[in-house]
Assembly symmetry: C2
Homo-oligomer: 799 residues x 2
Amino acid sequence: EVEATVVSVEASATDAGQQHHEPKEQRMYGRYTQELGVYAKEEAARLRDGGVRDGGGLRRNTSVRSRAADLLEYEKDPCAKCQMCASRCQKFLISRVGEDWIFLILLGLLMALVSWVMDYAIAFCQEAQKWMYGGLDSNMLLQYIAWVTYPVVLITFSAGFTQILAPQAVGSGIPEMKTILRGVVLKEYLTFKTFVAKVIGLTCALGSGMPLGKEGPFVHVASLCAALLSKFMAALFGGTYMNELRNTEMLSAACAVGVGCCFAAPIGGVLFSIEVTSTFFAVRNYWRGFFAATFSAFIFRVLAVWNQEEETITALFKTRFRLDFPFDLQELPAFAILGIACGFGGALFVYLNRLIVECMRKQKTINKFLLRKRLVYPALVTLLVSTLTFPPGFGQFMAGQLTQHESLVALFDNRTWCRQGVAEEFDYISHSHAWKHPQVNVFITLILFIIMKFWMSAVATTMPVPCGAFMPVFLIGAAFGRLVGEIMAAMFPDGIHADGSVYPIVPGGYAVVGAAALSGAVTHTVSTAVIVFELTGQISHILPVMIAVILANAVAQSLQPSLYDSIIRIKKLPYLPELGMGHHEKYNIRVEDIMVRDVRFITLTSSYRDLQEVLLTGQLKTLALVESRDSMILLGSIERSQLQSLLSHQLGRQRRLEHLRQLAQDNGTHDHLPSLATDSTPSSPCISTEESSSFSPAVSNVQLPLKSALKTVSAISDTETPNTEWEEQQLDMPVDFKNCKIDPAPFQLVERTSLHKTHTIFSLLGLDHAYVTSTGRLVGVVSLKEVRMCIDLAVVSAY
Amino acid sequence: EVEATVVSVEASATDAGQQHHEPKEQRMYGRYTQELGVYAKEEAARLRDGGVRDGGGLRRNTSVRSRAADLLEYEKDPCAKCQMCASRCQKFLISRVGEDWIFLILLGLLMALVSWVMDYAIAFCQEAQKWMYGGLDSNMLLQYIAWVTYPVVLITFSAGFTQILAPQAVGSGIPEMKTILRGVVLKEYLTFKTFVAKVIGLTCALGSGMPLGKEGPFVHVASLCAALLSKFMAALFGGTYMNELRNTEMLSAACAVGVGCCFAAPIGGVLFSIEVTSTFFAVRNYWRGFFAATFSAFIFRVLAVWNQEEETITALFKTRFRLDFPFDLQELPAFAILGIACGFGGALFVYLNRLIVECMRKQKTINKFLLRKRLVYPALVTLLVSTLTFPPGFGQFMAGQLTQHESLVALFDNRTWCRQGVAEEFDYISHSHAWKHPQVNVFITLILFIIMKFWMSAVATTMPVPCGAFMPVFLIGAAFGRLVGEIMAAMFPDGIHADGSVYPIVPGGYAVVGAAALSGAVTHTVSTAVIVFELTGQISHILPVMIAVILANAVAQSLQPSLYDSIIRIKKLPYLPELGMGHHEKYNIRVEDIMVRDVRFITLTSSYRDLQEVLLTGQLKTLALVESRDSMILLGSIERSQLQSLLSHQLGRQRRLEHLRQLAQDNGTHDHLPSLATDSTPSSPCISTEESSSFSPAVSNVQLPLKSALKTVSAISDTETPNTEWEEQQLDMPVDFKNCKIDPAPFQLVERTSLHKTHTIFSLLGLDHAYVTSTGRLVGVVSLKEVRMCIDLAVVSAY
């Protein structure tokens, strides 16, 4: 019976760890905080020093280590203030830099291969669609069916596949990475299943030709790759690859690799990933991202050369604007207006995207229907979008036959499209002819393209497939820029420049500016400027691009959160939002206004009964240790799991057996007892409780192990001697804190600390909670939840 | 007599605040940590709540505020853990974003103007030299005298001028900015005098044509500009411009502006300044730097357009490499080798620079001579350098007649110089002919140029004038790259590419790569890559540049510290050095090994006598407050100044008068006492002591005010009643901590915290010191000094 209970404890722990629908609120408290090797060493030293002989701590650690690869670890560092280590020291505790290089090279290589193969597969899919569509040009209906069926099948497959294999693979993954790098473990987002689902789902989704992007998911894929690679290296070599801190550090490099190898833009990739995922950035990690992203981008482009696609390494969307006079000074107001308009457009996009999601959630009938038939929504959306882009139908007015790549190449073209002006000899080569309808002006085509793509992209990115929104937004921005550029070219056919020489306006330059500005506005980043330089291989428009991006950001940031923050809020991920700019008067709040005054604590003189009571009623991860109920002087904090093991040790099998033996010695009956005493199998309740308690944070219901432990204990009591009297005695004894790890300096604030400062401290150190003290006396506790709620309220009311 | 003492206290405080030669060790403890407005508000609330009637705190604050503009402030925030605010929250506590924009625009505008005017003046100086040299071509000797005298006069003037006006203006200023942004106040580096000295000194130094750079000093000039601008705005508008935290935040934007408007490279400027000055970077400040740097770069280039120098806004050193096939894949190994060589070169440069400084310091006779005749060294160096570059002399073999700008334009030329290969029709237009000596091969010229410039730059940057090393190093790198490129072009006259079409090698591309790699190696940055793209206006060589820069960094970082860190070490600035990469085994040190065990503390039951004793013996800025001598439980920390005012209040005039009145009442003699009691002029000893105690950290000898206070007190005792008995009584009373600001949560570590973690925590939070506790018991204290010494030892032994 004892064995059975133990097994059930473990089973439930594993089960709960794999549950995806557990409340997020609870999941946020589980974090990777400890390098196991260091921990084991320190624990060993501690045991040696303390003279503790049983080696329980060590044994527990090694047993934990063997399971570490699969289960969420939660081990608190004995060092004070170490919560910050979770998010900061991670970037620091590297023992062997050489291994870093190898890891980064492998990661870059792998990601470049994945990116290239995926691009190849996507191009193949799109070719197949074109071939089908082209082969059936005799019959319009058949052509339509072919044009529509193909993406519907691909998207439905993508949605179904990810739904079955790993629902976490849905969406871009940047919000989740942002949350993970904030220090919150979203374990199931970094599994092999998710990797497979993401890669295959993404390939199908992009192959369908829907307005979806590769960049966001690629950040996630790269992170997955890094996580799996370090697991693999750990299995092969052990040692530093087990270091969870180091892994998180590698994740931030991986984000850079993701963007870098997707656009062949190493610098932009690094900057974009920093802007999108970090709050405080450790400059000494800079080189890591740069190295990995550069290597990855290099391999990605080399593969294209080896495959004879390119003659040498060049930019992905190479432009050929003239170098000697890229733009006129007097064009700058037009660029500035373009930037401001893109700012409004970006905010609108984020708003539209959120509106669609919220609409569908609020409409209960739609919501119910969609929840039952998960594949209907993507199929319907795809049907709608592909019907509208059907080239012989409405698609002819919006360049519907072009893929994203082709459209972008055409939009960045250095020639002028409109018939006025010097570009009269415009020859419809390559993809540009798709933009020119015999009956309709090129301006109408562009406007239709922008409007249609705008809502299509906003809708398409809400589909439950792996997809990003960066590329569609980039494309819309390019089209909008092109439109402005063409209008300028039409207005000033000979260019603006006054002094003799004629420099016609380059509408392609406007397209570049527009692309950077709109994508910058949607993501709230300025590094899109760098990305366009690397994408186009030309930096001549640097000033217009920078001006437009900054203006677009200024407008968009004052109107809406970034797309990723918006998704974080929609998905209710455990992320601490930024304080909005300029809404500071909203935050005239102090810690005393939001802190929880009813703090659970233990005193130095607490009995085990108090301990039991506190553990059974509260849910907090750590408990405050105060000197006494009267003085309330905060001495430190103790982890829940530590207290659990203290309690279970006190009531545990060994002590119980000792007691029984004592009893037996007193009664003179020691015939059946030796067999029990030597029964120290690894499944003895004491050890199993300790094991499960160290897994506890992964378990959604943290109290489970304790309850089971108590159950186990009472099971023993039931089977052997009904000694509740002994138990009561034990519970009344004062707690012995000697073998208990106490964090002697938990993070403290005072009552008058402002919300500003609390926010900064929490995000800088990656804190979960902080105690509020007044001259050493504990008066309250404030946790991430309270801070988040408080800011959310303020931010929501601000928008 | 009382009046006189008070005045002397204030005078000595002001005097000491302006002393430049006080030991750096002490200066580092003074820091800007407090927004005065917030402090005053909180203090007012505190006084109201606490029912303290005399308003001493408030009065003191307003009196402090009126002097704040001139004197170093040190006010501890009452909020716990606020030390981090000094370096982090600064970037956060902004009340009005609109004012930020205005400030940044003004800063950008101002710096662009300064940069442009300075460039104009420098160009004028160099033209004047050329004109003089050219006009005297009949007589070689006169020509030589003109060529040599001109720079010697300029450099001597520059050295003398800065020496007299503001010796802090010497050097690049980046190391100092790094230290200031670390949170250590180097007050005298941000004065108007320094600004004038730096701008004029730099203009003269660069106008002399010596191998000196503008970029490093420009970071300093921009920071000076920002500091002065906020002082000016504060004087005009008051309010937020008084906020010292905000000013520091603006300083980091100013650094970006400095680089941005020097090279017209906004993105590179931002990244370079982040890499060079920050350890942890708050991403939410990103836009500030970008905005200001872009605006500044824009205005800088617009000025050039308005002045008819340029037709439109373009890059500073525009290149015209071909776009369709910038380089061959098979050239990459050459680029990689170039990068590695530059890495070694960069490390050698840093080593050489340090060697020269250290040599001159160690040679006592030289040292003594130089200290007495400060202008002899720069004059001698200038004479040597200009003699060697004299064009008809040795200069003809090393393109001596070209200025830095001209050399760089020539080196980045897209044509091949060597006669072999396709570039046979090489026409010696523009500045390229200087490289081609009729008797000597172009390779020899290049090699001589590199070798001569290398040591010349290393020597020249040690001169006591405002100057940077970035640009000379950049130039040497370009020349080295050019050399490699020319060699490649000579080896493969038809290019490497195998498939039919001939793409000759572009040696200019190698020059770009070499420039980025060498400057990256010397400064330990990767953002030099971005700077070259912005400088040349072409990004086509992105992959070679990135590869070379990363390799150069890898090599240089493993051999030597960066140039700026090297200067920090030479100047012994109070900066916490980075832990070297790969030397981690050296840091197997724990806090218990370095902490100071003999901590000065006060207990809750301390008497005023204990207080006096502690204050008179120790030098620490804050003192630990423990529960009792036995328990040693750390309750918080109290500032020295707080204790000083406690003590002086206890022994102060008011209490003394009360005592006298009491005495008089008892003795029935109250004829002369009312006049004393109403004598509450602002110069009463109590208030003056409080005032001077709040200035104390600016004073090099922190004990001064206390001693004076005691002196004042005894002065009163002497003049009035010799009541030493009363004094003794007062000293034996237990301290009343009621009105004393206690920081309830000073930063704590445990004994086993590793040096790694201590370093991270200190640099992340900008700490001065941290207490070491063991379950709440105070066991030691570790300050920045110990951490720095320990790391220095390890780093020095590693190199």
